[in-house]
């Protein structure tokens, strides 16, 4: 007899697919299994049944989710669902993790956490072998360009270390489910049956300016029919702007994105669930996982930025978003509205639901290099033969896309991340110190090599000193820096001014040298400058909201950046140690290692280079350092000269402790720990900027530059013919306004064709701008970087 009715209800299948799967025993039969079912069809419920089966046998289960927010939501739910069992959450958000790995019977983890556990498997050997089941939610992330290779490597390591573990992969969007199941030597089950069917509608616009009106109309229609609407957009700014516009039109709207504070995000979600908010405008944060079913989903933007350019959204992403539509018990169908331009003939294919195949990230050399060094450093492989065999089992190998293992090993030997030794006459591979840094800090080999290169140069050329900003730029230029905060065109001038005030060696290099060194150019290089400057401001201000305000970003981003920079700088310290010059430096000279270390400290605590010297005294942390600063004790020299009663006036400082601190400060000052030890005396960065008139703010310099290569063939009754681009176009001048028949104009931009015509007509302001584009001033020109010159 089941004494817990809630539990009994929880165990009841709700759909025919769920029942079929339960009856077939797929969840418990012992095979790995790939389940593909639409969003909202109960995959998580099935995962719970599989997990319960494992917990009842007193074994462990892991639930892998890429979203910290979802981990938190499931943790709360499963504490009750599996009452009596210990549920631990391991995502990095739970810094003061109360539950240890060993005590947890159900572990909710992010892929990054599990990756770290498999890399240092010896330290987790007391619990890893007890894991009987791993549920991999959002299995399609195997194809993610950034995280896919790591997830694949993690799963391969796990099943080799624990051959008894069973994998249950879940996804709504797999184009090659059978292939994935074959790779896992398992079975698969797929269903496209949705509890609530979807109806698709395409709403078209001629010009991008029409979109907000179309959105309002569609959202109003759904709300008036008693439903709620979820709108997906491509940027946080757009989410905020549209939500405000909808509110102004009388709808109860809100925005949702990763930049929101955790508490605010939960409040918004709660308000939407309760019906207080009718329309939620969100970024891709809500694409996965979070349970917020609605009547209608509107995809406002059908493009996404892939790091280089805007590209159409993949079918998988569209369906992840569309899948939110339709509320069980309330809607007979879920409505999906795609807002698309008239000229887009491809948009209808989304409704067909032909998902893209998941392609392994180990086809990329960088992804493979990282996994190779991980295998060697963790002691799981020692020879090339072993590595080749291990990666022959990968998804990439199955797809005949695996990058060359032997070539990658060769490159890593050359880069000194691996070395060859001999054992009993046989060659063996070993990770070098640099290799261990990469594995321990979960950095890509690229990042480690970049840091090594920069620090070697700095060390060998004794007087080549890198400033704090330089070191932050180096850290920001690595692929492992998250987030990289881009700069808008409108903010270039502010960036310009900010950089111009900072001591820097790197900004004194030519653009070409800098591009080569940091392996980035154009908008990415600008983003690196911006991100580094934000981090530098943080060390001076130490308050996330203030920094975010100053730089036009989000407090959440500043916090994430702080975490990321701290990790990168700590790795840099280890690399600096590894490349240390054997000769002892002058005692007064700050070695690159010491400088990076103090910078890591500054970033960690949000303290500047002077105040941070206070924290060199044992017992003085960041909070106390700030208090001392406010009491006019700004650095270690001030502390050494302070009278103890100056300190005892501050709360929580007893006479004895004050005396100890002053004494310690005196000793340190005697031993060269000057307050000015880290003060920078480098010249400021030579950054210039093309002056862009505020009257011409709507003229994008990139389009203006492109306009220069076009030919205006002449006019005929106010219509100009433009050639020289991919297609000829016509620009019409009517009642003082230009219009063009190109897609760029239809999106609401001032296109290059119109600019070409205006130049042709001799518009003076534009000609001055063109002249400004051609100026090559001394120093780094941020505008040139923007337009990609």
């Amino acid at each position: 007899m089941i004494s817990n009715p809630a539990k009994a209800s929880a165990n009841k299948a709700r759909s025919s697919d769920q029942q079929t799967i339960l009856d077939s025993g797929l969840l418990t039969i012992g095979f790995n299994c790939v389940l593909q079912m639409p969003t909202g069809s109960g995959k998580t419920w099935l995962a719970e049944q599989a997990i319960e089966n494992v917990l009842l046998r007193n074994q462990r289960a892991i639930y892998l989710t890429p979203l910290r927010a979802l981990a938190s939501e499931l943790g709360e739910r499963w504490h009750q669902r599996f009452a009596g069992r210990t549920v631990g959450i391991f995502t990095g958000d739970y810094k003061a993790q109360a539950m240890s790995y060993q005590r947890s019977q159900l572990l909710i983890m992010t892929p990054e956490k599990l990756d770290a556990c498999t890399r240092s498997w010896r330290s987790h050997w007391h619990w890893l072998p007890d894991v009987d089941l791993i549920v991999v939610d959002e299995l399609h992330l195997l194809g993610d360009p950034h995280r896919g290779a790591r997830l694949e490597g993690t799963l391969m390591r796990l099943i080799r270390l624990n051959p008894f573990v069973r994998i249950l992969g879940l996804s709504a969007t797999l184009g090659n489910r059978q292939e994935l199941a074959d790779w896992l030597n398992g079975v698969e089950y797929g269903s496209s049956r949705r509890p609530i069917p979807l109806s698709w509608q395409v709403v078209r616009y001629k010009r991008a300016q029409e979109k907000p009106e179309l959105l309002l109309r569609e959202a109003q229609r759904a709300v008036e029919a008693g439903g709620q609407t979820l709108v997906f957009v491509q940027s946080r700014r757009r989410a905020e702007e549209l939500a405000n516009a909808l509110k102004d039109s009388g709808l109860r709207a809100a925005h949702h994105h990763a930049g929101l504070d955790h508490t605010v995000r939960k409040q918004v979600e709660s308000a939407f669930r309760s019906g207080e908010v009718s329309v939620l405008v969100a970024t891709a944060t809500l694409e996965m996982g979070l349970n917020l079913p609605v009547r209608q989903v509107i995809l406002y933007d059908l493009q996404t930025f892939d790091g280089v350019d805007f590209v159409p959204l993949p079918v998988n992403s569209v369906w992840q978003r569309a899948g939110r539509a339709g509320r069980p018990g309330l809607d007979s169908s879920g409505e999906v509205v795609l807002i698309a331009p008239k000229w887009d003939g491809q948009v209808e294919h989304y409704a067909k639901g032909q998902f893209e195949a998941i392609r392994s990230g180990l086809s990329q050399v960088n992804g493979l290099a990282e996994q190779i060094i991980t295998e060697v450093a963790s002691g799981l492989c020692r020879t090339q033969t072993q590595l080749e065999h291990v990666f022959a089992q990968s998804l990439a190998a199955k797809q005949h896309r695996l990058a060359s293992v032997s070539e990658t090993i060769g490159a890593m030997l050359q880069a000194e991340m691996l070395q060859e030794t001999e054992f009993e006459g046989q060659p063996r591979l070993r990770a070098t110190r640099l290799g261990y840094v990469a594995v321990r800090h979960m950095l890509s080999p690229q990042t480690v090599l970049l840091f090594k290169q920069i620090l070697e140069t700095a060390f060998l050329e004794t007087y080549c000193e890198l400033s704090f900003l330089d070191l932050l730029m180096v850290a920001a230029s690595s692929a492992d820096c998250q987030p990289l905060i881009p700069v808008d065109f409108e903010a270039l001038e502010d960036l310009n001014q900010g950089l111009a005030q900072e001591p820097s060696t790197l900004l004194g290099l030519s653009c070409g040298e800098l591009v080569d060194l940091l392996q980035a150019d154009g908008k990415r290089l600008l983003a690196i400058f911006h991100t580094a400057l934000i981090a530098r401001t943080w060390t001076r201000v130490g308050a996330t909201f203030q920094v975010a305000d100053e730089h036009g970003c989000y407090a959440f981003e500043v916090e994430r950046l702080r975490e990321s920079m701290e990790r990168l700088l700590m790795a840099m310290v280890e690399i600096a140690t590894a490349v240390a010059h054997p000769d002892s430096p002058e005692p007064d000279w700050v070695t690159p290692r010491e400088k990076v270390k103090i910078l890591a400290h500054m970033v960690s605590k949000g303290l500047d280079e002077q105040t941070v010297t206070l924290t060199l005294v044992p017992g003085i942390g960041a909070k106390m350092a700030r208090q001392l600063q406010q009491a006019n004790i700004a650095d270690i020299e001030d502390l050494a000269l302070a009278a103890p009663n100056q300190l005892t006036d501050l709360p929580g400082i007893a006479q004895k402790r004050a005396g100890q601190w002053v004494e310690a400060a005196e000793e340190m000052v005697d031993c060269h720990s000057s307050a000015y030890r880290y003060r920078e005396s480098l010249p400021v960065g030579k950054v210039t900027g093309t002056r862009w008139s505020p009257d011409m703010a709507d003229v994008d310099p990139y389009r203006l530059r492109r306009a220069l290569s076009l030919k205006v063939q002449g006019q005929d009754g106010g219509v100009y013919r433009i050639t020289g681009g991919l297609d000829p176009h016509r620009v019409k001048l009517g009642t003082g306004q230009f219009s063009c028949d190109c897609p760029d104009f239809s999106k609401g931009h001032l296109c290059k064709h119109i600019l070409a015509v205006r130049l042709f007509r001799g518009e003076r302001n534009l000609e001055e701008l063109v002249a400004a584009l051609s100026e090559s001033g001394s120093g780094l020109d941020l505008f040139q970087l923007w337009i990609g010159a």
Binding site: G30, P129, R160, R166, L380, T385, H389
Partner: protein, 302 residues
């Protein structure tokens, strides 16, 4: 026929049983990899007295633990067997120091950590002269009776060890233990005689005739080829490390003419688990059996 078994403080040990040998410490790292999985595939595990010293609460086994006496060290170079007050005491030279193995030391340690204990015995290699062989047997018997008389933990099953050089000496030794109060009898010294299966089975049958229904264990013999015959001859349990020794060499039982080229640590783990499953008759999980066998890239040995 009723299922035969032995009750231990950590549960029943059902017979017939293949008991894998494991070690602790740094000498055999493959054992560290295998150990967390033993409880899935085996009913118990055997640890030598020497390696059991390295056990800790974190590394302790999750299944009934059999601890032998360490008397195997009598075969080490430099070791000496002395008689003290009628008991056999072994002096072992190890790492430039001399250790002494006394029945008291062994029993006290076993009472702390073991679920099944074996009395301190002294192997009799085939080439040993009869006088010394008889001396070793006499001291082995004396130690066994001493342990029985001085055991304090009543829930610790104690196996008396038989050491002999032929069938009759084995019978004679077993007679000394029959009806003595031991929970089981173990036959040692058969490893160097393993190739002579007729002799081995003869000794087993002779001992079985003398001890009646008492559980009978054979120390150190556990190749699958001989298991069936040993069980049919009256053996209830065996212990062996050959499942892991084969794996360490990259070999799979049943395919001994082939081996894995450059096995990784996890390859060896997989091989050992396959070997163990073969010996214990346990079924590997579907997902792992496919994976385990697919990792094997056997090639012919030269």
């Amino acid at each position: 026929m009723a299922q035969r078994s032995l009750k231990t403080r950590r549960g029943e040990l059902s017979f017939p049983a293949y008991v894998p040998v494991t070690t602790f410490g740094k000498k055999y790292p493959l054992d560290d990899l295998i150990r967390p999985y033993l409880h899935r595939l085996a009913p118990a595990a055997m640890v030598s007295y020497y390696y059991a010293q390295e056990m800790s609460p974190e590394t302790s086994l999750r299944l009934p633990t059999l601890v032998d006496s360490g008397g195997f060290a009598a075969l080490f170079e430099g070791s000496r067997l002395r008689q003290q007050k009628g008991l056999g005491v072994l002096e072992i030279n190890r790492d430039d120091r001399t250790e002494q193995l006394h029945p008291k030391t062994v029993l006290e340690f076993q009472e702390e950590i073991a679920d099944v204990a074996f009395t301190l015995d002294f192997p009799i290699p085939p080439e040993l002269d009869t006088k010394e062989a008889k001396r070793r047997q006499r001291l082995t018997i004396a130690n066994a009776h001493w342990a029985l008389d001085n055991r304090r933990r009543r829930d610790l099953p104690l196996y008396a060890c038989v050491q002999a050089w032929d069938v009759e000496s084995a019978r004679s030794c077993a007679k000394q233990y029959a009806n003595g109060g031991f929970e089981g009898i173990a036959i040692g010294g058969l490893v160097p005689r393993a190739r002579n299966l007729e002799l081995v089975l003869g000794i087993v049958r002779a001992v079985r005739e003398e001890i009646g229904d008492l559980p009978l264990h054979v120390l150190g013999l556990g190749h699958p080829n001989s298991l069936t015959q040993l069980f049919e001859a009256g053996v209830d349990s065996v212990d062996s490390s050959s499942y892991v020794r084969y794996a360490a060499s990259g070999k799979l039982w049943g395919q001994s003419h082939q081996r894995i080229e450059e096995p990784t640590p996890t390859d060896r783990l997989h091989l050992a688990l396959c070997n163990l499953a073969t010996a214990t008759g346990k079924t590997l999980p579907l997902s792992s059996s496919q994976m385990l066998f697919s990792t094997l890239r056997m090639s012919g040995t030269s």
